[in-house]
Amino acid sequence: MRLIKPTKRGLYVEPGDFYIDPWLPVERAVLTHAHADHTYRGSKNYLVSKEGERLFRTRLYNEGNIETISYGKSKTINGVKVSLHPAGHVLGSAQVRVEYKGEVWVASGDYKLTFDPTCAQFEPVKCHAFITEATFGLPIYRWTKPEILFEEVNDWWRGNVEKGKATVIFAYSLGKAQRIMKSVDASIGKIFTHGAVERLTRDYRETGVEFPPTKYVGEVSDKKEFAGSLVIAPPSAQDTPWTRRFGAQSTGFASGWMRIRGARRRRAVDRGIILSDHADWDELLTAINATEAEQIWVTHGSIDILVRYLKSIGKDARPLETKFVGDAPESEMAKDEEENQQRINADDAN
């Protein structure tokens, strides 16, 4: 029985009559995480993780009936048992486990296994069918260990301090920005944030995640303060007049796509920082194995490739077509950029 099916509104759990991450308004939605391409406004009832509540409320403009549930706790909707489990993607991100008449399905949402100090660690959930993402579903994607990666970032930052330059890192404003500010060595210098980053970081802080002190760029009157500091901004801020205020600067872009030299060069930044909130190839395979699922449904990213590989090692794997367009690496960035562009415009208006 297909407990979770793709429909034109999103993933649908028929017996429970609810959707997972629907992109059109529905009666009842369960959300995996608060990124804009998973959390759409307009539905009537939302079920979200307790840990992500503040982020969800910000993203949903606090509209609709928003109900929260802690990781591991369950709730029954029309006879379907629903629970959320840490996905390790960003704060409050969850895998959705649904159980009906003894059949268990898990929709992973986006996830990673790498340690992230800003959110709960991914927990494998045993199930009959597992719906996995495949954003980085190619063996060329293997992440550097965070401790090594951030040592490199720290070295680069220190070098820039010596040259009197600001260090400007472009990173998604939800998740990656916070991961960076919590992982770098804050004793090197001050940390400044773009408005979009600062607002979401506030949600993190209010949820109980601790960070070194940060300051919103807009509150700085003396531009000299930026020399030697670290500035964290969304990708859409790159090459805009907004960045001029930092004076001499060295720029970096944080993304899993930076693993590929061509993508690094296209970004035209001084540093490509290979940092992703998605699972790399090895993590995908580890996570899939850990679920012990009989059936693997692959969505979002390198769908065909991961399906083919899983079949070649004897798994029952199938593509799950959703609205998300397959193999769309840098289009993803474009999407994030559009979203952040609106925020920047809003910031500029302030």
Binding site: L138, P139, I140, R142, R259, I260, R261, G262, A263, R264, R265, R266, A268, D270, R271, G272, I305, R308, Y309, S312, V325, D327, A328, P329, E330, S331, M333, A334, K335
Partner: protein, 534 residues
């Protein structure tokens, strides 16, 4: 190897020229002479022939990475660069960078692979991969496959070397031209203070020009300027020294053998003469279409029939050396007068191959603009404007020489196919096929892949992925929706193309998001252009 891979990273990680020069200076200061020579060799775009066939490298890399071949190939598709794909797929090593010098890696660990049998090669390659860290693997793979490239111009390398040695840029640039062997002696001679350069074959760096980007009148008095037709051929330098002749193309290729009529004609030049000019296909006192010259490019030896069908000339512009003396600092008017004197004194049959063309006379800029309208019918690209008092400089300086090209022909066309790019643009849909209307149908008419900003490319990329109709291998057909203005230099009848025409240098001039596909041009409009052209 570690220092060289650090240098590569430093060059790759910045787009600021000063930082690139700084990184090279640092490298040259620390490197041994032999390493420095190899570094210059690679940085200036020279490369040894491929040492190991890429098919074998792919196979071994897939085996060692323990992934199936198809997955290797799909990974390669996504990365767009074989050396990098392999470096990304190989298992992590504990290697932290080889302290052994670059010269050792090239001379002992790379070049000798050529002589080994396959199983020995495999073992040597696996061993090398094992000793190198991820970045070094990438660079070494590029050396082995003969595909090493780095984003610095020859000019920047020259700047760095000038800074390290205190020797003038021009001298360094000159010493780097021609053919040389990368070894310690070469490097030491390169930085040698004395300017007695023995290498006979060595050409001078070319003086290049920018497109005129301000009003013509701002150039001042037209009497200070010389206007030449801008010919569309291969820029070249012909050298006659100590009884030997060398013909160099601007790409620094020695092309003497490909154009034997020019080489033969040069035997009659006085010793110690260097001419700057353009190789052109020329028949009955008239330049032929560039397409004809293309038939001769890329052929090492030319058959008798082709020699008769497409004879070439060297249309001389300038005199760089005469009587073994460097003429480049003299004024253009003096160089030109001497050039004409030399050419006029050559035997009659040679004067058919080493030719010059009258400069264009005009009383004022306005008149010159008018004459420029003849460009297309004369099969030239417009004018070269050169200050009569100018020396022959190095590189592409602003001020003395300007290209004043005619505007390209333009057409509004609809994008119908897209293909992923390679190299810098791998994994993005950057190569497009465009169509124009014909009897209510869109017929493909040109392919183009340049002219958009990175931001626009990302938007088009997203459009392609969201609007794919069908995929054929790497190519996607897309909903016809986007209109672009295409520019091209020339247009010719073609039986090989569905549209019946072939265009030269097609490129995207701009994205017309203000236009609907109904507004795109028709094949009729293109055929009218074709008639106007010929």
């Amino acid at each position: 190897m570690k220092n060289f891979s650090d240098l590569y990273l430093a060059l790759d990680q910045t787009n600021k020229t000063n930082e690139k020069v700084e990184a090279m200076v640092k490298y040259f200061k620390e490197a041994t002479a032999a390493d420095a020579a190899w570094a210059i060799y690679f940085l200036s775009g020279r490369k040894p022939r491929q040492i190991i066939p890429t098919a074998k490298l792919r196979m071994w890399a897939a085996e060692i990475s323990e992934i199936p071949d198809w997955l290797f190939e799909l990974s390669y598709d996504a990365v767009g660069d074989l050396g990098e794909t392999i470096a990304l797929l190989l298992p992590d090593t504990t290697a932290t960078g080889s302290e052994l010098p670059l010269a050792y890696w090239v001379e002992n660990r790379t070049v000798p692979l050529r002589g080994l049998d396959e199983s020995e090669q495999r073992e040597a390659v696996a061993q090398a991969w094992n000793e190198l860290d991820a970045n070094e693997r990438f660079i070494w793979n590029k050396l082995v496959t003969g595909s090493f490239r780095v984003g610095v111009s020859q000019l920047l390398v020259v700047r760095a070397l000038a800074q390290v040695s205190g020797i003038e840029k021009e001298i360094i640039a000159h010493r780097l031209m021609g053919s040389w062997s990368p070894n310690a002696d070469f490097y030491l001679n390169l930085l040698e203070a004395s300017s007695k350069d023995a290498d006979l074959s060595r050409p001078y760096p070319f003086h290049l020009a920018h497109q005129l980007d301000f009003p013509l009148e701002d150039l001042g008095d037209i009497r200070d300027w010389q206007a030449e037709w801008k010919w569309d051929g291969i820029r070249a330098q012909l050298i006659r020294r100590s009884g030997e002749s060398f013909l160099w193309s601007r790409g620094e290729d020695l092309v003497s053998e490909r154009f034997p009529e020019i080489t033969t004609a040069s035997f009659t030049l006085p010793d110690g003469t260097v001419l700057d000019g353009e190789i052109l296909p020329w028949k009955d006192d008239e330049v032929m279409a560039f397409a004809q010259l293309q038939r001769r490019i890329g052929r090492k030896t030319v058959g008798k029939k082709l020699l008769e069908e497409v004879p070439v000339v060297l249309l001389c512009y300038d005199l760089l050396e005469f009587g073994c003396e460097d003429f480049r600092q003299r004024e253009l008017r003096e160089r030109r007068a001497k050039l004409i004197e030399i050419l006029d004194n050559l035997p009659e049959d040679v004067r058919k191959t080493l030719i010059y063309y009258p400069v264009v006379e005009a009383k004022n800029w306005q008149e010159l603009s008018k004459i420029r309208d003849e460009s297309r019918s004369r099969r030239v690209e417009g004018f070269m404007l050169k200050r009569l008092a100018s020396p022959f400089r190095v590189g592409r300086p602003r001020g003395d020489w300007w290209k004043w090209k005619i505007d390209p022909l333009t057409i509004d066309a609809v994008m119908i196919y897209a293909q992923r790019g390679t190299g810098k643009r791998a994994s993005l849909y950057t190569d497009y096929t465009f169509a124009v209307w014909n009897n209510g149908e869109l017929v493909p008419f040109a392919k183009a892949y340049s002219g958009l900003t990175d931001k626009e490319i990302r938007r088009v990329d997203r459009f392609v992925r969201d609007n794919t109709l069908e995929t054929f291998g790497p190519v996607r057909s897309v909903t016809p929706k986007l209109v672009f203005e295409l520019g091209f230099e020339g247009i010719q009848k073609s039986t090989r193309h569905k549209s019946g025409v072939a265009v030269r240098f097609p490129r995207i001039l701009r994205w017309r998001d203000d236009k609907k596909i109904e507004d795109a041009d028709s094949l009729d409009a293109i055929h009218q252009m074709l008639e106007a052209e010929n």
